[in-house]
């Protein structure tokens, strides 16, 4: 996983609230057995018409969206299904950070495992960011700060998730190192079905 320290990029704005993971990647694209190549189908239902042609009015199809690595979305981004295909598709498309005023639990957990930084900001900063489609935004994970013209705000993130993102490591190494404690737990609960 590529370490995440600081990122300055143009941002794509999707102001809708409650963007669910079925919109991020519809279920018909979950039939694969690998993680690769899902970016093509990111927001497929909104991005393409019934014939598969790009819809000009969808922000991701705007020429200005090319190369954007930050997504700014309405409240409760990533609700619904637990599919990790959602962050896989966002990362495959090129996104490295999602900014909102609230992000759904499972999506947030899946995002950090794939080097995609979930950034939850206050309502005022969120409003200001939503008003700047295709503007430049800087996300500094070290300083836990988001900056854009007229916006400078701190965000909170779980210290462990932050460490993993900064180092580009995943959580499995930490869990595997717990083996002795896991074994002890298994012994202590014998007879209780565990």
């Amino acid at each position: 996983m590529e370490p995440f320290r600081t990122l300055t990029s143009r941002a794509v704005v999707l102001p809708r609230s409650d963007i669910d993971t079925d919109q991020i990647i519809p279920a018909r694209f979950l039939k694969g057995t690998t993680r690769e190549g899902l970016g093509r189908w990111l927001f497929a239902g909104w991005r393409y018409d019934a014939q598969g042609a790009p819809r000009a009015e969808f922000p991701l199809n705007d020429p200005l969206a090319k190369g954007a690595r930050i997504l700014i979305a309405g409240p409760n981004f990533g609700c619904g299904s637990s599919r990790e295909h959602a962050p896989w598709a966002l990362v495959d498309h090129g996104f490295r950070a999602v900014i909102s005023v609230s992000i759904a639990d499972i999506f947030r957990s899946n995002a950090v495992k794939n080097g995609l930084l979930p950034v939850v900001v206050d309502a005022g900063s969120h409003r200001a960011l939503l008003a700047q489609p295709f503007g430049d935004v800087t996300v500094d994970l070290e300083a836990r700060e988001v900056a854009a013209p007229g916006v400078r705000t701190r965000f909170s993130i779980d210290p462990f998730a932050r460490r993993c993102l900064l180092d580009g490591t995943d959580e499995l190494g930490f869990l595997l190192a717990q083996a002795p404690a896991i074994t002890a737990h298994e012994h202590s609960r014998r007879g209780e079905g565990a």
Binding site: S17, R28, L30, G32, D105
Partner: protein
Amino acid sequence: MAPSELPARTLFDRIWQEHLVRPETEETPAVVFVDLHLVHEVTSPQAFTMLRERGLRVRRPDLTLATMDHSTPTTPAGPAGEMEITDVECRVQLDALEQNCRDFRIELHPLGTEHQGIVHVIGPELGLTQPGRTIVCGDSHTSTHGAFGAFAFGIGTSEVAHVLATQCLLQRRPRSLEVRVNGRLGPCVTAKDLVLAIIARLGVSGGTGHVLEYSGEAIRSLSMEARMTLCNMSIEAGARAGLIAPDDTTFEYLHGRPRAPRGRAWDAALERWRALRTEPGARFDASVEIDASALEPTITFGTNPGMSAPVSGRVPDPEREREPAARRALEAALRYMGLRPGQPLQGHPIDVVFIGSCTNGRLSDLRAAASVLQGRKVAPGVRVLVVPGSRQVKRAAEDEGLHRLFLEAGAEWREPGCSMCIGMNGDQVPPGRSAVSTSNRNFEGRQGPGARTFLASPLTAAAAAVTGALADPRMLVDAGLQRSA
């Protein structure tokens, strides 16, 4: 230590503490032990790849159970019970699960076998879903198992790999929210109507970061299958999980199930399970109260499960929504659904009815639908799919003759699976068509590109099937049934 020296604990506190391998600190989340890991074909292949890449084995195959449900066909089987898989991608995914289960020695219930079915239907059916357990699956509707007083939640594929490799997960302790449901549900008002009302009350993100504990008179009087319907949709309020303290209803359901404890082990388990409850004086981080007796048969009209109304009511008017973002969301939803502000819901024409899913695909759900369809015909031009949640549900329904009743009414009787809830197997609602569905999500395109979904109970779905429009089941169910409901 005397009880008075310990703070009173909620049911969740207790399960959490009993599964801590390592408590959380400022720097690191808690390491939580998983008692049961359920696996299916869609969210697991990449997890097994992660294991292979690192040369890891499955730590506890004995606590892992796999089945096939999401991408399986539900078209009626051939004379020898054979199932034809025409979708090549689906076949590859199903083959991968078989290979992975063989390589890592995981118990698999493949297509066409005795205990195959939707993962959240077969866990309880087998008696593996037990009070006090921690249960996870790469599927957000894992919250279903909370009906037994288990802490059960959906995880992503990386976490599936974590559990396969270590039988543990890294978790921050969620907050707790009590949903107290007073009074009793009225005739034709079911657990589905209740959970839709709860989601409308909390909002689709109102439960974020929380475990919901359902309590109160209305909950105590629900059957296990109804409790599963309720806990199943906890995730639709954004909650991590839903929980109901186990009681005699729970124990009766579990007794004699294939994987439930037997003999002295049963007695010991029962003693442990009876202690699993929120202690008097325990504090929740938040709580809400709902009056069950005020609820009516409820249906969604929008594009998330929080947008619902009594089926006897009208489509809300976005103009009356003060908050601009909420107004825009409602306008977009009504445009997608093809509804006009203020129009009555009843009488709105529909094209498809889907009865099934991990929310409402159990025997009692099929019986409810059958009670409406009995002696009636599906309205002309309406397609009705009845998809049992598991092979066991299918068999039990057929033993009662429900399949004949559905077929005579003009419905399709299918093989078990997730089917039209997610539409991965080709069971889809055509673009622009309206479906009344007993499933859990009415998101745009969920049941197929351009599909319009109205979520409702099996009774309300069956009422729509026979009238060809959104309908109040109370208008169809005779007085005799109302008394027994």
